[in-house]
Structure formats: C-alpha cells, structure tokens
Symmetry: C2
Subunit: 218 residues, 2 copies
DNA sequence: GCTCGTATCTTGACGTTGACAAGATTATCT
DNA sequence: AGATAATCTTGTCAACGTCAAGATACGAGC
C-alpha cells in the first residue's frame, strides 16, 4: 500500500503522525525483519524483536501479519522478487552472447545472491519449516522459476515439454545445490573467493550443457 | 508414569529400573526426536515434547544434551551416519559396473534418503539455523562427504587435487540441489514418481560426466 | 553388605515467545 | 459532524529453553 518516503529512516513514521499510528509499520517491520535475519539469523527473528526495532508495542505486528509464519512468508516473497531481479540483470548484462553463456551468468548471480543474503535465501528455499504457504509467496517463487525455464527454452527451442523440464530441473539443481552447499561451507573450501566460485559455477554449467549432446537417452 | 514394560517398547527402560532412572533416556530422546521430526517437522521438535514422549520430566533431557541445539546436532549426526550407510550400499550393490554408474547409483540413493527422511535431511544440511556445531556432527558429516570424494577419485584417478575437488563439488551440488528442490516440490512436479526421479537423477549425472571430456578449460 | 560420591531424574522458577482479548486512539467515509 | 473501520496499546495465557535445588538410584571402594 503506502510507500515510504525516500528519506525515511528505518522507523520512520508517516508525516504528521503523532506517535500513536506508525504510518508505515508493515514496511518497517519487514525491513527490521530482514535486518535481524541478516545480523542474527532466523532463530533471533521474532515478531516482538521486529516490533521493538520498529518502536511499537509487542502486539502491533499482529494487525499486519496473521502469524509469525505469514510474516516470514512475506519476507521470503520479497526475497524472491529481489532474486528474480538479479536473474534478469544477469541476462540483460550478457548482451548478444550465447544462451549458454547467459545461463552461466544467471548461475553466477544465483550463487552470489545466496552468499549476499544467506538467511533470506535459506528462508526462501526452506518453506515448510518456518514459512506459512502464502499465495504471494507462491507467485513470487514461480516468477523466479519462470526465468530459468525461459533461459533453457531459449537454449533449446525445439524441445518437448518433458525434456525441457528435465533440463531446467538439472541446471537448477546444479546451481541451487552449489549455493546451498556453499552456505554450509562444504564446497569451494579450498578457495572460497568470489572469483573461484564464479569460475566453478561457470565450468559446471558448461560441462552439463556440453554433455547434453552426448549423453545416451537413459 | 513409571511403567516397566517387559518387552522393549520405544520408551523401554533398563531391566530392573523401578521408574526413577530411565536407563536409556538419551537413546529414547533421540528416537522420540526423530519421530517428532518426521511427523510434525522441526517447529514441533522441542525438548519438552521429546521428554513427554519418553515419559520423563521436562528437565530430564538437560542432563544428556546441554541445549536444544546440541540435541538437534546429535540427531543430525546420526542422520549423517545412516546417510553414509546408504551411499555405501549403493556402491556395494553395483557389483563390477563402471564408476560412472556407481556414482549414479549413489545419487539415486542420496535423493531417496532425502525423500524418506525429509526433516532429518533438512536438519543435516541447515546447520546454522537449528543445530549447534559439534565435533561429532562435523565428523559424521565429513565421513559422508568422503564417500563422494572417493567415488569421483575412482572415476578419474589421475586428477590433481584442485580439479578433483571441483568435480566432486559439481556432482555433489547437482544431486544435493535436486534433493533439496524435490523436497520443496519445485522439481519433477509433472511426474514425481520414484521411477521418474531415479531416471532424471541418472540422466543428469551422466550428462555432467559426459560433458567433462568436452568442456573448455574456462 | 554398606557407605558414600555421583549420575540421573523431579520439581519449581524465571524470562521470552506467539497468540488472544479488550480497550484506546486515529483515520476515513458518508 | 458523526459513525465505522483501521491501527496501536496493555494485559494475559500457555509453552518453551534454561537454571537451581532437591530427591532418588547406581556403583566403586571398603
């Protein structure tokens, strides 16, 4: 609904607000939530703490989020929206390079996003545990998924739907697994520099794409 | 409260125990924990609930687990042990087939384990959020990892360490990502039967291995 | 066989959380 | 202006993790 003004601080209140009504509480809570998530992890992200940071009483968030699960779902949904944006950026920055290279660029940004927003990324892809399934979350998530489908479809335009989805699944699995394991420190442990991470992701995607032309039909 | 079952039920007590001392409380708590995890997910897994199921007071678990995080770490560690076993089984059942096929078999069992033990699998690979880092957990986890390293080393025995770890990372990422996304229902959504899952995992691993011989050196 | 130290378990308490209810305050619509 | 709805506060509840203190049972050493 109401957007916060450009100069707003994290607990900014509506212009003219006299203290009782916050004005932009929903956004302020989500912002606080993302900060807590990034600083201290999911365990520390409570509605009361978010309320505290937004400068309101402990029960105020209930009027904007039916439960803590819905609150987390909203944060995850916004995470997916940002995520979709970085995937789009990756393709856009590729200019006229091959679709395979566009996929590699998307993979690199995928992993970078995971590293830059660890807790949000985990929240996004671990719904059942913390998050209440929400229509908005579902939509934001499938928008991101659609980016992958589109890229793979462009890579091999004359594939039937079954084979297409198999390849999307595999490339997605590769990149997603890499991101997830990287957050756990179980991958690239010898040299976890951004350059090396980029290189490994690129190599792995290329190898898979190359192999598609040769692999027997199972 | 202090029932003494003649036959060993899930809250079996030591032979001769008269009710005050449980006898096998640590194991009973872990068993209860795994049940809760499987039935109702991590959110429902509390020390008090585990104590309840084991038939002891709410503070009894504290004498076996310093904190809830350590409790969950113990469950995760045992999960890794089971996990390692299924990876070993996969290779053992392969007989004299090629190493590539052994890797595919391990991948299939990897995914099957994730599906069969959803909550435990998530706990195993999402340490920071719920689990306290423990020496036992670390060891159990790296034992499982070693199985993958060994298999890939057998696939390409004359690789230098850097290239070896890159390939281990990629194959692991592929299988792990597939498992993780499968739990989220974001993969194989058209046909999530065990047969199709097996087929897709096998195809993806084969394609990657095939591609290794062709991919340019980045 | 007995005693005593210790491991194990219980009871009780404290602070924190998510959630609910009822009341206070402000916004909005007619 | 007045009524209705939205928003926020205060107060409360059960459940949780954790700590402390006391009760009980085991087992090593005599």
């Amino acid at each position: 609904m109401a957007q916060r003004p450009a100069t707003a601080k994290k607990s900014a209140r509506r212009k003219g607000s006299d203290g009782y009504h916050h004005g932009y509480l929903k956004d302020a809570l989500i912002l606080a939530g993302r900060q807590i998530l990034q600083e201290e992890g999911v365990r520390a992200l409570t509605m009361r703490e978010a309320a505290r940071r937004a400068g309101v009483s402990h029960a105020a968030p209930a009027h904007h989020f039916a439960s803590i699960g819905v609150f987390l779902a909203e944060i995850a949904a916004r995470g997916f929206d940002d995520f979709t944006r970085t995937l789009d950026d990756a393709r856009a920055d590729c200019g006229s390079r091959s679709v395979a290279e566009q996929l590699c660029a998307m993979g690199r940004n995928y992993v970078r996003f995971a590293l830059a927003h660890r807790a949000v990324f985990r929240l996004m892809f671990d719904r059942d545990t913390h998050t209440t399934p929400t229509e908005a979350l579902e939509e934001s998530a499938s928008r991101a998924y659609q980016r992958l489908v589109n890229a793979v479809r462009d890579l091999a335009p004359d594939l039937d739907e079954t084979e297409l989805s198999h390849r999307v699944d595999a490339i997605w699995a590769l990149v997603h697994g890499f991101s997830h394991l990287l957050l756990e420190g179980k991958v690239c442990h010898g040299d976890p520099t951004p350059e090396n991470i980029d290189r490994q992701v690129t190599q792995a995607i290329r190898a898979y794409i190359e192999g598609l032309g040769r692999a027997p039909a199972a």
